[in-house]
Amino acid sequence: MQNDSDIRMLREDPEKLLLKYQPVIRIIVKSLAYKGYLPKREISDLVQDVNRKLVERMPRIRSQYNYKSRFRTYFSVVVRNLCLEEFRKLRIVAEPAADLYEQPGNDSPADPVIIKQEFERLKRAIRMFYRDEPALWVTFRVLADLDIQPEDITRFGKTDIAGREPELARRLNQSFKKNKREKLEIVSEVLSELDAKSRSKEAVRKWFENRLEEILTLMNGKPPRSAYTLEILLILIEKAESEKNNS
């Protein structure tokens, strides 16, 4: 219903819509600034600049929005891109400014939420690899020494291996407590059977390293705001699994 009202405002009263979205604009500007794009003192100036640009661009926004997403989401993308344009104009270097950061407290009540969000971000990062998603999850689970179930194999959507899922899962589970290289070898053998053509162990290792590197970059952000490693990702996956089993 909120989307309907946004769309109505977009058509009939864009200024009112802009007024409604002031908190969203401030959040986006601040979040980009806190990522190190902008000195803190310039935040309110930039909010003004972005508002001015948005007023100018409102007719274009109205004509270009294709209604396939919520207006709020579309508008967030527009504001973000506008901010980045402004940053480029100002030639702001993506260096985090030390005074922007505040030391977090010892026992922040938001911590469990942060962990949940981070696992959600990991799922998103892996989801973007689309057809590789099941293979990536299997590889991560094997590396984390988590049990592979027949359903994990079913997710590959291969009809020609129907009935063999338990056997393939069992083979993957034999990787338990082996080192990373040995685990990837076992994964490569099973993936070769799931794939149309055979993959060498080296090809699977390179494929995973390549994907992992990008997933870490996606998780850490640009400019980097955290320092995820494979080890930390595995802990996240492991904890999420335990949570799922406990709940």
């Binding site: 969203v24 209604y67 335990s242």
Partner: protein, 301 residues
């Protein structure tokens, strides 16, 4: 798995997702919508540039989100923004009948879900004592009793008569033979274990930073990828300046100070890492300056 390609991330190479497609895909990533066009999925699979954009946009939308979209918000729109559903065309009589049926259904479901046995009586008491601390006591008549105390100095303590945490319990899908990291029934602890490894952005910036000073003691310590198990020794060496005094401070991944260690010799600190599993930072400090910051992890033995 498909043929691997090396993608070059360049903003101007070829066609990338526009603002509308990015918004649509960000909603898909966030789980706000279940379906997006196949060509969008295939493009994302191929394009590292758009993946980075989509991840950032999804993060931004998380920040600006005011809750999941309602069912109405999720319904498809025509190209000019009109809802495609025909719900609005239903006559008021049909709507009324649908509403009554829905109420009846909900009532039936509630009836089915009601427990047959009465639940144990739960009581909550709020008391304030002379020390200005407020105590909330919840108790269940059968087995448990939990007391949480909130005082003016913001400490929260919890005691429970039967809240023994068993570290032997194994999650269902865990393989045999490896000690479980997350015992069942300890949700906050399992979260905290992973939390202990989340890097602190401020300290990460300082790790490996180079300090320009004539009196730099040329500190040598464990590298940023060092992993200790409890009881391992962390060693720091440096070239001392006679006019400076040195100390080592260990902080956790939230920047909270764990311990301050004085040198055992003028150029050496050996400290036994008796710490819980997690990510920690070491700071080597002089009298007036911080000379070096490093990172290390502690894992279970």
């Amino acid at each position: 798995m498909k043929e691997e390609k090396k993608y070059v991330i360049k903003p101007d190479s070829g066609r990338h997702l526009g603002e509308n497609e990015l918004a649509q895909y960000a909603e898909f990533l966030r789980g706000d919508r279940d379906v997006v066009p196949e060509e969008l999925l295939l493009h994302m699979e191929e394009c590292a540039w758009c993946r980075a954009e989509a991840m950032e946009v999804a993060d931004i939308v998380d920040l600006t989100d005011d809750g999941r979209p309602t069912t109405d918000d999720r319904r498809p729109m025509t190209d000019d923004g009109r809802p495609t559903t025909n719900v609005r065309r239903l006559s008021s009589v049909v709507r009324l009948v649908a509403a009554i049926a829905a109420v009846a259904l909900i009532a039936w479901v509630i009836q089915q879900l009601r427990p047959e046995k009465p639940e144990p009586e739960r009581m909550a008491t709020l008391t304030t004592d002379s020390t200005n601390s407020t105590t909330l006591t919840t108790s269940t008549t059968s087995t448990t009793s939990t007391t949480s105390t909130y005082s003016t100095n913001s400490t929260i303590s919890t005691t429970s008569t039967n809240s023994t945490i068993s570290t032997d319990s194994t999650p269902v899908r865990r393989k045999h033979g490896r000690p479980p990291v997350a015992p069942t029934g300890t949700r906050p602890d399992t979260v905290r274990y992973a939390q202990a490894f989340v890097p602190d952005p401020t300290l990460e910036l300082l790790v490996g930073a180079v300090y320009r000073s004539g009196t730099d003691p040329k500190t040598e310590g464990p590298g940023p990828e060092t992993i200790f198990t409890s009881e391992d020794t962390l060693k720091i060496r440096w070239t001392p300046d006679p006019y400076d005094s040195y100390r080592l401070v260990i902080v956790d991944n939230k920047g909270a100070k764990i311990i301050e260690v004085e040198p055992e010799a003028s150029n050496l600190i050996n400290w036994v890492t008796n710490l819980k599993p997690g990510l920690y930072y070491w700071k080597f400090l002089g009298k007036d300056e911080m000379w070096k910051v490093g990172r290390f992890r502690v894992i279970e033995r």
